[in-house]
Symmetry: C2
Subunit: 375 residues, 2 copies
């Protein structure tokens, strides 16, 4: 992919202040942005009760551990409001059912299964990565111990298949097969993520492949699973998966921008979060691949950081200096451009599918939302 390497020098794009790093999307589809809140709310309203009923099936203490993970109760077991996240996946799953002319409700078991798989991966990844916090709260392994994190993750994965297969239909079998493919990709992505941690350099291609596996594959499944449950043919499902896959890459590019330049108030993460974790995210690998003085200087600094025993105690200014170098080398603007590029491919994939205009506009609005967000 040499033609997509970042330009050597900085170009004018966006702003340099933290919290305003989101790429601009084409104006045409932003007109529908007002619908997004309703679309997200619909997905959440339809999926959450079914998700909670599914989790309630788990035997104690797994039901409690899972409820803590989802934010429905606190560590002491008391009911909690819970930050349910952005709920983009459930919104996409129920919307995709409408592609086939089915009611959005047809997509609900798919939405729930996708959420269960997503949360299975969070439970296991947090343990594997040693992450102690997620969404401003202690992670499950930190509160309930590693064994419960493994066990409840396994249980959510099994429950995902159960929720689909108990429908007993041919469509449910097809949906489960696609979900399984996505889950395998998710696991491949985590394997890549772990192996990259031990390497000095990761190429832009490797980073995109990993992000496609970790984020693209499940968003692809979310964007098509309702349609599959509604009886869509494979060509339709494949096109919707393409939309979701590239939307996932756009989502992840924005996430990588927010991981460095995001507003901690909005993201719930520390300042320069990904830099503190030495994460080889897109802006970093793009900056390192760009060449030129800033890129080379960044490479030297990060190599020294990797060996530093004092890294934990670095000051705000030291991280800010690294962020500035990444930006100077072009990593920030390349990643913003990549988000726009993936957004364009995603929306373009919808052209291959016949669907009501209202549904198409909703897919476009959700795509815009993913690229223009601050958390």
């Amino acid at each position: 992919m040499p033609h997509r390497q970042p330009a050597a020098g900085p170009r004018t794009f966006g702003t340099a202040t933290r919290g305003e790093t989101v790429p601009t999307v084409p104006p045409a589809s932003t007109e529908t942005a007002a619908d997004v809140t309703a679309l997200l709310e619909r997905g959440r309203t339809l999926a959450t009760p079914v998700l909670r009923a599914a989790v309630d099936r788990l035997a104690p203490p797994m039901d409690t551990v899972a409820a803590y993970h989802f934010g429905w109760i606190d560590a002491a077991g008391n009911p909690a409001a819970g930050d349910g996240g952005k709920a983009v996946r459930p919104a996409l799953a129920v919307l995709s059912a409408e592609v086939t002319g089915s009611a959005p409700e047809t997509g609900v078991p798919g939405a729930v299964a996708v959420e269960l798989v997503h949360n299975f991966s969070l439970l296991h990844d947090d343990l594997m990565d040693g992450d102690e916090q997620r969404r401003h709260r202690d992670t499950v392994w930190k509160v309930h111990g590693p064994a419960q994190a493994i066990l409840v993750g396994d249980a959510l994965f099994a429950l995902a298949n159960e929720v689909l297969l108990e429908l007993g239909s041919v469509e449910a079998g097809r949906a489960t097969r696609r979900l399984t493919t996505a889950t395998r990709a998710l696991i491949d992505g985590q394997a890549q993520d772990i192996s990259y941690e031990h390497r000095d350099r990761v190429s832009v291609e490797e980073c995109l492949e990993m992000e496609g596996n970790k984020t693209g594959a499940l968003l692809a499944c979310a964007s098509s699973i309702g349609a599959v449950l509604g009886g869509a043919d494979d060509a339709t499902a494949d096109a919707l998966e393409r939309y979701g896959y590239h939307l996932g890459l756009a989502f992840q590019a924005v996430d990588d921008l927010l991981g460095i330049w995001g507003d901690p108030e909005a993201t719930g993460k520390q300042t320069w979060s990904d830099l503190r974790q030495r994460k080889k995210s897109l802006p970093v690998v793009a900056a390192l691949a760009a060449g030129g003085p800033a890129s080379e200087r960044l490479g030297e600094i990060l190599a020294a950081d990797a060996k530093s025993s004092d890294f934990e105690n670095f000051s705000e200014e030291e991280f800010a200096a690294r962020a500035a170098l990444i930006e100077e080398a072009g990593g920030r603007e390349w990643t913003a451009e990549e988000a726009r590029r993936q957004h364009t491919i995603a929306v373009g994939a919808l052209d291959a599918v016949t669907m009501p205009d209202r549904v198409r506009a909703a897919f476009a609005a959700l795509a815009d939302f993913v690229v223009v967000r601050k958390r």
Copy 2:
């Protein structure tokens, strides 16, 4: 289940020497025992190449980690002979296909999926339980680290669904649904196992429920999955599951006997293995539930052991004394009787199913093998 509580005093049964603790089975079906070697060999021969091909699909380094787990390579990556285990599950899966008049090959994807789920659970359970050895070898988390044990376990679980669902048939969907139910039970059983570790007393009923989940459910699936893939109706599949479930309970009762009185040379475990691990296995819980002087004395000793800081250094004689008390309280013979009882229920469940005499005899022979074994 008070009528199944062990008798207070010892009855004459079997022998008291280690390595000869297996219950006697009814003579009628032992005549077919000669076929068992061929049945096990057939299952292994049909399933292993497909299992290896499935595992080869995993991305590096997961393929290597999985190959180590299965015993196909050693820790250094060199090919190894590997102790493939008894291979009862593959033998049952391919045999069950013949119930429907299908070729044994029809059951192969089912055999492979069941093996993948079984090994997913071993990888995760060994990590959760902190077990460092399995089949005379270091466990995966010990050799490749906890993250790989979690990740490769997840991958094998996903692969199990993939192997079935890629068949694309209605039968494959039904088989996957039954496998999912079994997997959920497996996870429930592990949750119970973990929670029982922290308790002073476990009832015989709780122990049987846990063993039904951990061992019965997957053997139930193995005994029916080939038939399901061959198009068997639900009543046939349910009856075969009953056979497998009770066979699993018989298997586990024998395992619990071998865990205390088994010959280390044959089992590959330490002497008094389950006692060293303070495992609340059937002979122990049955002895504690029996009442009488030996039972009460055992209860006092095990309660003191639970608090002892010197337990790790106990002598052979100290463990032998505990084993003798369990036997004196009736725990050994109750467990042997339970194995026979479950064996009888298992074989009886076959009466509900129409199948060729040859296939019925093979199911009976495999049931006998499970109860009469030394490892």
